[in-house]
């Protein structure tokens, strides 16, 4: 009872702090100076149609690199925690699950391929349309998950996943360094030609970076699912 009162008091106190701020701030009439600067300059600076992408990958690209690092650290943590040994699964074979029907397997195979292609499409067009590396990565992970569901006995190939994850991550850092050497700073996408705004090959290295992020995120998320499934040595 005492506890409930305290919880109530705590939440009420937080509400007392939070609600005036949230309710009182109202709806702005126009973006601030910084946002306006992004909106007007980004297309010219980087030739990116999607200004959010321009911010995410270049202006605040360091955040995104950090974000990738967060996901990486989380994957590492999950992998360290949930090995088969530590889950008490030992060397036992994963429990047999009823095999899916032939049709389902074929269908998922097809769907998986389509989904992977869709994911690739999303991150390749990140600088033009909504979406980007993270969304594309999730779609790829989902595709692999579907494969996992259809064939419960299959393992994702750790080797390939790990290699994709490592190499795409290292390549991301490499692109950042390329920006530092060929352009004006670490993660500067102007290392590659900016191209014509709105076309696929434009916005300097933004699509390259977003694709690498997509691959890395896809591999990492699959890795997390893999570990939760109990397939990590």
């Amino acid at each position: 009872m005492m506890r409930r009162v305290l919880v109530f008091l705590a939440v009420a106190g937080l509400a007392w702090a939070l609600l005036p701020l949230a309710l009182g701030s109202g709806v702005p009439e126009a973006p601030g100076a910084l946002a306006t600067a992004y909106l007007t300059d980004a297309p010219a600076d980087f030739g990116a149609a999607n200004i959010v992408t321009a911010i995410v990958v270049s202006y605040r690209g360091f955040d995104t690199l950090g974000e990738v690092a967060v996901l990486f650290a989380a994957t590492a943590g999950v992998g360290a925690l949930l090995t088969r040994k530590r889950l008490g699964l030992g060397d036992a074979e994963p429990e047999a699950k009823p095999a899916a029907t032939e049709i389902l397997v074929t269908a998922t195979g097809l769907l998986t391929g389509l989904l992977v292609m869709f994911g690739v499409y999303i991150f390749l067009h990140g600088h033009l349309t909504p979406g980007g590396g993270f969304q594309g990565g999730v779609v790829i992970a989902t595709a692999l998950l579907l494969g996992l569901l259809a064939r419960p006995e299959s393992h994702l190939s750790h080797g390939i996943l790990a290699a994709v994850e490592s190499l795409s991550g290292a390549a991301y850092v490499g692109m950042g360094l390329l920006g530092a050497f060929l352009a004006w700073g670490f993660l500067d996408p102007r290392a590659l030609p900016l191209g014509r705004i709105g076309s696929l090959v434009s916005a300097g290295s933004i699509p390259v970076i977003y694709s690498l992020i997509g691959l890395k995120v896809g591999a990492e998320l699959s890795g997390i699912l893999d570990a939760l499934k109990g397939d990590r040595e």
Binding site: V52, F134, Q135, V138, T142, L221, I224, L228, K229
Partner: protein, 95 residues
């Protein structure tokens, strides 16, 4: 203004789903409701002119996170009732 009303309605849906997610006795229901919160949130994001965020929220918040929860739930051999002990015996009222 219409958008505002839609946002407000979605907000109410989210809050209801959120409260439901916290209150539900069944973890499965809880997970699905929290996925629902994310789905509604992605609708809100879309309405606000943030398609990037909406996509991300839909894919990650309501999609992948839910899958991760379900996997974890299965892996933990967690009985669906939230206040059960490891062997699955309900210990309701035992607190």
């Amino acid at each position: 203004m219409l958008v505002d009303v839609a946002l407000l309605v979605s907000g109410i849906v989210m809050i209801a789903a959120g409260i439901g997610a916290v209150l539900a006795r069944s973890l499965l229901v809880s997970i699905l409701l929290s996925g629902g919160v994310s789905l509604a949130a992605s609708l809100v994001f879309l309405l606000m002119g943030a398609p990037d965020v909406a996509m991300t929220e839909a894919a990650i918040g309501s999609g992948l996170t839910t899958v991760v929860y379900l996997y974890a739930l299965a892996r933990a051999r967690q009985p669906d009732e939230e206040d059960s002990d490891p062997l699955g015996n309900s210990v309701k009222g035992g607190r």
